[in-house]
Amino acid sequence: MAYIVLDTKKCKSCYLCLDACPKGLIKKSSETGMTGNFVVEFDDKNGECLGCKCCALTCPDLAITEVYK
């Protein structure tokens, strides 16, 4: 089962990863981050993550630090 490591302390809530994930596994959370907006969370209860790295490649703030497949 693939997964990503997300460092929400670096997330600036640009939400580019929401569009990048082909499975829609990244969502807005209820926690606020450094910009005062909701940071993202990785929600993969059914193990759907493909490990495609699209979110990590798109993130401009190094918030997705590792991807395992």
Partner: protein
């Protein structure tokens, strides 16, 4: 379980980018870091930096950096490379720095065929100073110095940097890439690596122009800014490799 993505080693472990949310500088810096790591030249790298948002590279990279006067990064890179030809020297500049204030330095560095690599971030505006008209500002684009939109009659046409650099005999590689989608980010990484390799092989000047978003000064969301790149910028600034001496 295999690790398929990690952050570049040449970016400091505790680095937190200080760019605005959605700014593509972060992606460009990560791709450049990957290219330096993959070429195995981190310990021998010296960066010549400009004035603008791109100068913040020195806060995030674990390499030697020199801050240059506005527009003179390629001139200083020439000096560093001639004094220390064993080092890998690159510049990381914005479009205003590379193609307006420092265009004389940039074009002659390419003409002389200096063995350095230049990365130019084209976001069609002067980002750090608040969004004034730059050399690449699109026709009709509203900036703080063109409040009615850039007009060809009054302000001239946007400059196509990668094509200009490709015309120089000393250029070994010149390409334009974009960071608006995952597919284009992967192509951008290949182009940046190629621009680094031509320097390491001693073939000449390596140049990549990167179409990048500036959501703050464009007054758009990051998603709208990427759509703007796709719909407005790419038709004016076509993507592609304009010169590659390694391919016949």
């Amino acid at each position: 379980m295999q690790q398929v993505f990690k952050l570049p080693d040449c970016i400091k472990k505790d680095a937190k980018f200080t760019f605005c949310p959605g700014c593509d500088h972060g992606v460009a810096l990560r791709l450049l870091g990957d290219a330096i790591d993959e070429c195995g030249v981190r310990e021998d790298t010296i960066a010549a930096l400009c004035v603008g948002c791109s100068v913040f590279l020195y806060d995030f990279y674990d390499i030697d950096c020199l801050e240059c006067p506005h527009g003179r990064a390629t001139a200083e890179a020439t000096g560093i490379k001639r004094a220390r030809p064993d080092k890998f020297v690159f510049t990381y500049q914005g479009d205003g720095d590379f193609a307006a204030i420092g265009f004389a330095e940039s074009i002659y560095t390419a003409t002389r065929g200096e063995k350095v690599t230049s990365i130019c971030i084209n976001n069609t505006t002067y980002g750090m100073t608040g969004g004034q008209m730059g050399p690449t500002t699109l026709l009709g684009q509203v900036t703080t110095t063109t409040p009615f939109g850039r007009s060809a009659e009054l302000n001239g046409y946007p400059m196509k940097i990668a094509e200009h650099i490709a015309l120089c005999d000393g250029t070994a590689f010149s390409a334009r890439v974009s960071l608006d989608s995952v597919a284009n980010i992967i192509k951008a990484k290949q182009a940046i690596k190629k621009a680094c390799e031509v320097q390491i092989k001693g073939l000449g000047f390596g140049f990549v122009e990167i179409l990048s978003s500036c959501p703050t000064n464009w007054k758009m969301t990051p998603q709208e800014a990427h759509r703007h790149i796709r719909e407005k910028m790419i038709p004016v600034f076509p993507l592609g490799v304009f010169k590659d001496v390694t391919k016949g």
